[in-house]
Amino acid sequence: MKFSLLVLAAPYSDQSVGTALRFAQTLLQQGHEIFRVFFYHNGVYASNALSTAPQDEANIPRQWQQLAQDHNIDMVSCIASALKRGVLDESEAQRYDQPCHNLIAGFELSGLGQLVEASAQSDRVVSFGA
């Protein structure tokens, strides 16, 4: 079955982000396909490359990045949610004259159309953290 995930909560604040990650890993282990993971609202913090976890805690953005690399999954952070929360890619940082950019590699910033498309293309959309 083809799934898309909608992640709304921030890593390190809400258990649902870890649940989403394990759900995604389990889907793939069971032979399902993930069309897209869409990060919205506080979920966009999972695409901040500067997230720095203590040594005895998981680096959640890197875990998503690894999952995306291993399985070639489309990871999209909502551009409006991300810019407001200080997660920018290189072109947005230039556009708004910001001193640096911090979107983790493997993610892209895009609009809600990507979520609408994910909903249209997937058999199931499962949301985490509302």
């Binding site: 949610s81 809600l112 979520l115 609408v116 498309e117 909903s119 249209a120 959309v125 509302a130």
Partner: protein, 119 residues
């Protein structure tokens, strides 16, 4: 293929940006000509109040975002009848025409949707 998307709105209009962000998803889906319906439950009903003034909160008026729904082709707007009664609200206090649903009708609405997003 056009799928039926149902967005369930449970949050009051101010206090958490998820109320507004759920409406933004509805507007985006409407712009892409998807079949979208909205169900307001519990404190989510406050989103629909006709008289809203958010100036002192320095926030955008949530009612104005909702008023745009018909312009995006979104006319299927439902409310939880029990929640309306619990809050002593009547439909003529709301800013959009809505259909009030019983618990059984809500079950049927959710059942008829291909995708349900719950906020």
């Amino acid at each position: 293929m056009n799928k039926k998307l149902l967005i369930i709105c449970r949050k009051p209009p101010y206090g958490n940006s998820l109320a507004r962000e759920a409406i933004d998803i509805a507007l985006a889906a409407g712009a892409f000509e998807q079949d979208v319906s909205l169900l307001f439950c519990g404190d989510g009903l406050w989103q629909l109040m006709a008289e809203q003034d958010s100036q002192e909160l320095a926030l955008k008026n949530h009612g104005k975002a909702l008023a745009a729904l018909p312009l995006y082709g979104i006319d299927d707007i439902y409310v939880q009848a029990d929640a309306l009664a619990e809050r002593q609200l009547s439909q003529n206090e709301l800013l959009l025409p809505v259909k009030a649903l019983s618990p059984a009708e809500i079950t049927a609405l959710i059942d008829s949707a291909d995708t349900v997003l719950n906020f």
